[in-house]
């Protein structure tokens, strides 16, 4: 069964450092998403991406965040200068008729 792959599974970073979270969506999907989930809380929408551009973003997705699809397969989320409150599980998803989520990257900012 096709799946969305995310790397790394866990990232620990110093506050103020840049991190890049990587995702390989399902190959024939056209719509891509990043979500985050703070421990014990609900899944929050960050950004949607279609046709090589952002189609929608939430209030959480400020200037510190960016997304890219550099090579037609990978889909990345960059956080330029991490803050303690960025610590969360970050899920990538891709969609045809339904959304498939990756296993997530647990980001810990110390």
């Amino acid at each position: 069964e096709p799946e969305v792959t995310q790397t790394p599974s866990h990232q620990v970073t110093q506050m103020g450092q840049e991190v890049i979270l990587r995702c390989v969506p399902i190959s024939n999907h056209l719509y891509f998403y990043w979500y985050r989930q703070i421990l014990g809380q609900k899944v929050e929408f960050l950004v949607s991406f279609y046709n090589n551009e952002i189609s929608e973003k939430s209030e959480i997705f400020d200037d510190q965040f960016s997304v890219e699809r550099p090579d037609g397969s990978n889909f990345t989320l960059k956080i330029r200068s991490t803050k303690l409150e960025d610590s969360a599980m970050y899920f990538c998803a891709s969609r045809s008729t339904e959304a498939f989520f990756g296993q997530g990257t647990r980001l810990t900012v110390v």
Partner: protein, 113 residues
């Protein structure tokens, strides 16, 4: 902003008991999707409901969409320990030609053997 609330927030049941979670919105929903997230896992799509009053079943799971399309429910009959996890409803909201998924607050189910 758009809010999709779920009740209860937590539910503990004995194995074999039934379980229901409710999803409520202040606005009319275009559709509703249900996801299950096992502890430490990622959301997994269960089903989508689109029509007013729609009812769908998957084995022991029954999903219902309200007549006014402002609420939905998921009912599990005779829970098993494998049902443990958090159940989220989500609306696929379309704008700018694409969808985003607005998740509810989730109901965490614990099944006691």
């Amino acid at each position: 902003g758009q809010q999709v609330m779920q009740i209860p927030q937590y539910q503990h049941v004995q194995e074999g008991e039934d379980f229901t979670t409710y999803c409520n919105s202040s606005t009319t929903l275009s559709n509703i999707q249900w996801y299950k997230q096992r502890p430490g896992g990622h959301p997994v799509f269960l089903i989508q409901l689109v029509k007013s009053g729609e009812v769908k079943k998957q084995k022991r799971l029954t999903f219902q969409f309200g007549e006014a399309k402002k609420n939905s429910s998921l009912h599990i009959t005779a829970t098993q320990t494998t049902d443990v996890g958090t159940y989220f409803c989500a609306e696929a909201s379309q704008s700018s030609g694409t969808y985003k998924y607005i998740f509810g607050t989730g109901t965490r189910l614990k099944v006691l053997a």
